[in-house]
């Protein structure tokens, strides 16, 4: 397999570590943190998912990647789609975990739950199959850990506040994302419903839709091994 580029989601990046360990075992894995998420404020002109897409297209070029595998989670899945519609020449396959970014519903409907304006407990239920086990207990965490959560939310807003978690123009260009793609969805995802994933798969030129039981929006956190198995099986069947 060629190199793997992992593009992280908007929240809980640190909790994806066990999944990344599986993904990186014996493979060349690149898992950059986005500007802001990496601890340094982004350049003031760097504030859109377009910017992220161009940055990681540049990275594939710098690495002289051939048939790169992109694994993108949620916001990272959106970045992957934006990359693929621009230039798929270095992309071999994509495994996207509940990607956001494409507006499929009408103007008075929402494809993605309005997390910032939900109560903490309600947001946790939308994000996790088993929030009691996986959602951070803010009261029990130390101050630095909660500050890290606050910062991830801040950078998610920086990149994707309005339009909320999507690019209105992306849907019409999806035909350009003509690479074999796995859309993997937690069955209990309440942030972007599995039904959204099915509809997105139907809009992509070469996509397969699969679900992971007992997982919410971040299957790589709640079911790290099952998710890694499904992703690697897809990538290695190239």
């Amino acid at each position: 397999m060629s190199l793997v580029l992992f593009l992280h989601g908007e929240h809980f990046t640190a909790m994806g570590r066990p999944f990344l360990d599986r993904l990186g075992a014996g493979r060349e894995l690149h898992a950059p943190l986005y500007p802001g998420y990496d601890g340094a404020p982004p350049d003031p002109d760097f504030r859109s998912v377009d910017d992220l897409a161009y940055r990681y297209l540049d990275l594939l070029e710098e690495l002289d990647a051939r048939d790169a595998a992109i694994v993108g989670c949620s916001l990272g899945g959106w970045v992957a789609l934006e990359m693929a519609v621009r230039d798929r020449s270095r992309i071999g396959r994509m495994a996207l975990l509940a990607p956001v970014g494409v507006k499929l519903s009408g103007r008075e409907e929402r494809d993605f739950a309005d997390l910032p304006f939900m109560r903490e407990a309600e947001a946790a239920r939308a994000l996790f199959h088993d929030p009691a086990r996986w959602a951070p207990d803010h009261a029990a965490l130390d101050e630095a850990a909660v500050e890290a959560i606050a910062l991830e939310r801040q950078w998610a807003a920086w990149y994707a506040w309005k339009p909320y978690m999507h690019n209105p123009a992306l849907a019409k260009w999806l035909h350009r994302a003509a690479v074999p793609t796995l859309l993997l969805w937690g069955e209990s995802d309440g942030f972007a419903l599995p039904e959204y994933g099915r509809r997105l798969a139907a809009r992509l030129p070469d996509a397969r839709f699969e679900t992971i039981p007992d997982a919410g929006h971040y299957p790589h956190i709640e079911r790290a091994d099952a998710t890694a198995d499904a992703v690697l099986a897809f990538l290695e069947n190239a």
Binding site: P44, R47, P116, F117, M118, R119, E120, A123, H138, A139, L141, E143, V146, E147, A148, I149, A150, L151, R153, Q154, W155, A156, A157, W158, W161, K162
Partner: protein
């Protein structure tokens, strides 16, 4: 010479009882009865209009999607009062310019008001409370930057008189900015800003604008004013007490008990502030990570008394709020004494922003509160 400004949020208090889950953001407007609302609008406007005869100035503000404040467009009461009053100055504190996507429209509204009122407008620019992000859908992670770009554009739009100019900034795009009318006051109406942190006070000081501290009490007010004075001094800008404003609750009565009862009723303004679902207090990036984290963890909103002790904002008594320097209440002589003591403790200010109406305080009580204050406190306090 102390200037006193009467402020009311035009509360729709009749709806409060039927909104147990918070008074902001997600509340259904079916709770609002337009017939009751119309009566309320007219009585609040009457109370402001009365200020013109009492020697008081007028302050309005705006909030959105809330039963605590039905001034959803601050320039509407300003426009009505620009015609109904003759001498009172008209302060809007303020216009949430970082949440207002059309900055040129703000310049036009303020300029038009300034001309109609023949130069009585004071232009407040505010970032707005955190729960204002939700109705505006403005990006909280960029608010500070958007606020200052809007400010720069509005000031340039009001002070450019040679035809259109180009503005292609990060947040605002106009190729032909050309505001008519030009304002009455030159170069533009005075600018006011509210402050909550020493950092923002410093930036405002370098501009020489009036800063208003809102209900910040004995403990926090000197911190904010101090940061302003220090930065102004560093920048070589002379700061008199006319650069400082303080917003508080004032209840006066023929007796101490009557004054306190009025302040107690007005204080429902403060007590209802935290009645909002907690997530609306910390939109991502609105505040730095530290304070945001504290709110994510579920910290209670507390008010500090002068002695350093604190009480929960939603159930403080009038005595609690007086001990904090947020409310001043009693007979006119007692209130003058309390304000003098507070002003001395925080380093002096020349603008007393008096919340003379709030919550369930009736029209009769409001008229009595404003009239008694004007007749018996203002002559003394005016000489502070």
């Amino acid at each position: 010479m102390m200037q006193v400004w009467h402020f009311s949020e035009m509360a729709y208090h009749p709806g409060w009882e039927s909104l147990p889950d918070g008074l902001r953001n997600v509340i259904p407007s079916r709770v609002y009865d337009p017939e009751i609302g119309a009566d309320l609008y007219h009585r609040y406007l009457d109370e402001w209009a009365l200020c013109d005869r009492l020697g008081l100035n007028i302050m309005v503000n705006e909030h959105h999607a809330t039963a605590t404040c039905t001034t959803s467009v601050c320039t509407i009461p300003m426009a009505i009062l620009a015609r109904e009053t003759q001498t009172a100055r008209l302060l809007c504190l303020g216009m949430p310019i970082g949440n207002r996507m059309d900055a040129v429209r703000v310049a036009e509204e303020y300029a038009m008001l300034d001309v109609i009122s023949r130069g009585r407008v004071e232009m407040g620019f505010v970032k707005g409370a955190p729960f204002e992000i939700n109705p505006a859908n403005s990006n909280p992670a960029e608010l500070e930057e958007r606020f200052w770009e809007a400010h720069d554009l509005i000031v340039k739009a009001m002070t450019t008189h040679d035809g259109p100019f180009n503005w292609e900034g990060r947040h605002y795009h106009y190729r032909e900015v050309n505001v008519w009318p030009r304002p009455w006051q030159q170069p533009h109406p005075p600018i006011w800003m509210t402050v909550a942190s020493p950092g923002s006070a410093a930036r405002i000081a370098r501009k020489g604008y009036v800063i208003a501290a809102l209900n910040t009490g004995y403990i926090h007010t000197p911190v904010v004013y101090g940061a302003y004075r220090e930065s102004a001094a560093e920048a070589g800008i002379a700061t008199g007490p006319d650069r400082f404003a303080y917003l508080c609750i004032i209840g006066v009565g023929e007796t101490e008990a009557e004054g306190k009862r009025r302040a107690h009723q007005i204080l429902d303004y403060s007590r209802t502030t935290p009645r909002v679902q907690p997530q609306f207090f910390y939109p991502p990036g609105y505040s730095p990570a530290g304070p945001t984290a504290a709110m994510i963890r579920g910290s209670e909103r507390l008010i500090q008394r002068r002695d350093g002790s604190s009480f929960p904002m939603q159930d403080g008594t009038v005595e609690d709020y007086m001990a904090a320097g947020v409310a001043f209440a009693g007979t006119p002589a007692q209130v003058v004494e309390q304000v003098e003591e507070f002003a001395a403790a925080v380093g002096g200010f020349e603008h007393l922003l008096m919340m003379g109406q709030g919550g369930f305080l009736s029209h009769e009580d409001t008229v009595a509160n404003l009239t008694l204050f004007s007749e018996e406190a203002l002559p003394t306090i005016g000489g502070l």
